[in-house]
Symmetry: C2
Subunit: 266 residues, 2 copies
C-alpha cells in the first residue's frame, strides 16, 4: 500500500473564499469539495489550499512577502498565519466531518525559504502521515526566510515541490475557471480553453497570460503556471479544472475524463 | 538579545476551558490572560497550553493515547488535532489582538514520540522564532509514535522538554488552583498550600497527590508534577499559580512576588 503514488490536490483560494471580500469563506463550496474528496476515496492524497481573501489581504497589508523591515510587521506575520489557520480550520472541520482523516501541517512550522524559495522542508512526518493513510493538508503560509527574515510561501510553490518530493502520480488543481485559456476569459469573450498543453506549448503561452485581478501576493494564474514547470518536467501530469463546478474535482480524483486543461511534458 | 533566557509559560486547559463541558472555552479568561501576557512584555516567551474540554474528551472517545489499533481511530486522531487547533485558534486570536507576535506550532507536525515520550523534535524553527522576537505557542496534541502508531503528547511533557532545550530561566505554570497543596483542596478543606518545595520534598508529596476529577487523558496534577522533575533537576525554577485569578500570571511573568508554589532543586 505504501507503494501507491499519491495525488497532490491544490484547492485555489478563489474557490473556497470570496476574493472580493475580506475573510469571506465560501462554506458551501468547502462542504461540497469535502464531499467530493470523501466520495473519490483516493488511497494517498495530499491537499494544499490557497489563501484567498484570508491570507492575501493580510499579508499585503503588512508587506510580509517583501520580508522583515520593521518590528511592527511581526504582529502582521502572526496575524497572516493566524487568518490562514482560520480558513484552514473551516476546511479541516468539513473534511473531518466527512470522515477524512485529515491532518493540517502549517508550512510556517516546517519550511524555511531563501529569497522566497523553499530551502528546507523536513517531510518525514508528512510522509509518515501519508503512508499511514492520513491526508496531510498544507496551505500558503508565511514562512521564515534565510535572506528576507520572513516571506510568504505560496500554495502553488508547495504543490510542485511536494509532488516532486512525494513522486506523485498526478497534480489536480482546482481553480475558479474551467482551465487555461488563450486569453483571460474574465475579459476576453473569445478566449479559448486549452484541453491539453505540452510543456513547450505552456511555455509559449505563459507570457501571454494576464495576472488575476484580485490582490494575490503570490502571483495569480501566471504564478501558478510558472510553478508547475519543474513537476511537469519530471513527467507528473497536471490537470487544471474548475472546482467551483460540482463533480469536476471528484471526476479528476477518480481519474475520469473531465473538462479542464491537462498539462503533460510532451 | 538572543542571549536572554526565555520563560516557558504553561496555561492549563482547566483555566481556558470549562472541563465540565465539551468544547467549552472560557473566552473571558483567554482575553484576560492575553492582556496579562501583553502587559508583562517578556523578551523571550514560549507558551504551551493544555487541551481542557477540547482535546481530552475527543482523545478519550477514540482511545488515541493508547495507540493505533483500528482504522476508525484515524478520523478520531484527525478530530482530536482539529479540536485542539480550534482551542488554539481562540488563544491565538486573542494574543494577536493584543499585539503579541504569536505563532502556533502544532506538535502533531513536528514531534515524534516513542511509547508516549518525545523521541524527536526538531526545534530549529521554534528557536528561530524565539530569537527573532516571536512568541511560539504549542499545545497538547496527538502525535505520531514510533511504537504505538500514534498517541497523545501532553502539554506538561512539552513544558519540561522545551524548558530544558531552550535553557529557560523559569517555568510558569498557570492552573485553576493556587498551587500545590498537601491534599486535594477541592475535597479536603484543611489542605495546606506549599509556598516553596525542594525537589526532595516534591518527590515525597508526589505520591500523596490525587488525580484530577475531570477526564484528563494526560494525567492531571500528578502527571504535571512528575513531568517537572527533569527541568527542576537542571535548576530551572518552576512556579505553579492560579491563572484563573487576575494578575497572578502577570506578576509571575514580571518576576514579582505572587501567591503560588515555587519549586526549586534545593
Amino acid at each position: 500500500m505504501s507503494e501507491t503514488k499519491p495525488i497532490v490536490l491544490k484547492i485555489g483560494g478563489s474557490v473556497i473564499t470570496d476574493k472580493s471580500g475580506e475573510l469571506a469563506a465560501r462554506t458551501e463550496a468547502i462542504n461540497r469539495i469535502s464531499e467530493e474528496i470523501a466520495k473519490a476515496n483516493v488511497k494517498k492524497l495530499a491537499i494544499i489550499h490557497g489563501g484567498g481573501s484570508f491570507g492575501h489581504p493580510t499579508a499585503q497589508k503588512y508587506g510580509i512577502k517583501e520580508g522583515l523591515r520593521e518590528e511592527t510587521q511581526k504582529v502582521g506575520f502572526a496575524e497572516t498565519h493566524h487568518v490562514m489557520t482560520v480558513l484552514n480550520g473551516l476546511l479541516m472541520d468539513s473534511l473531518v466531518w466527512h470522515n477524512i482523516p485529515a491532518v493540517s501541517l502549517a508550512p510556517s512550522g516546517c519550511v524555511i525559504t531563501e529569497n522566497g524559495r523553499i530551502k528546507s522542508f523536513d517531510d518525514t512526518i508528512l510522509k509518515t502521515y501519508l503512508n499511514m493513510g492520513f491526508t496531510p493538508v498544507l496551505y500558503g503560509d508565511p514562512t521564515l526566510d534565510d535572506k528576507l527574515g520572513f516571506t510568504v510561501l505560496s500554495g502553488d510553490q508547495l504543490v510542485s515541490h511536494l509532488a516532486i518530493r512525494l513522486t506523485a502520480s498526478r497534480i489536480v488543481i482546482g481553480v475558479d475557471t474551467d482551465g487555461i485559456y488563450s486569453a483571460d476569459p474574465k475579459i476576453d469573450k473569445n478566449a479559448k480553453l486549452y484541453a491539453r498543453l505540452s510543456l513547450d506549448e505552456l511555455g509559449r503561452i505563459k507570457e501571454r497570460l494576464g495576472k488575476s485581478h484580485s490582490p494575490d501576493v503570490t502571483g495569480g494564474m501566471l504564478g501558478k503556471i510558472t510553478e508547475l514547470f519543474p513537476a511537469v518536467e519530471r513527467k507528473i501530469q497536471v490537470i487544471i479544472l474548475n472546482a467551483g463546478k460540482p463533480n469536476r474535482l471528484y471526476r479528476a480524483l477518480k481519474g475520469e475524463e473531465v473538462e479542464g486543461t491537462i498539462i503533460e511534458k510532451e
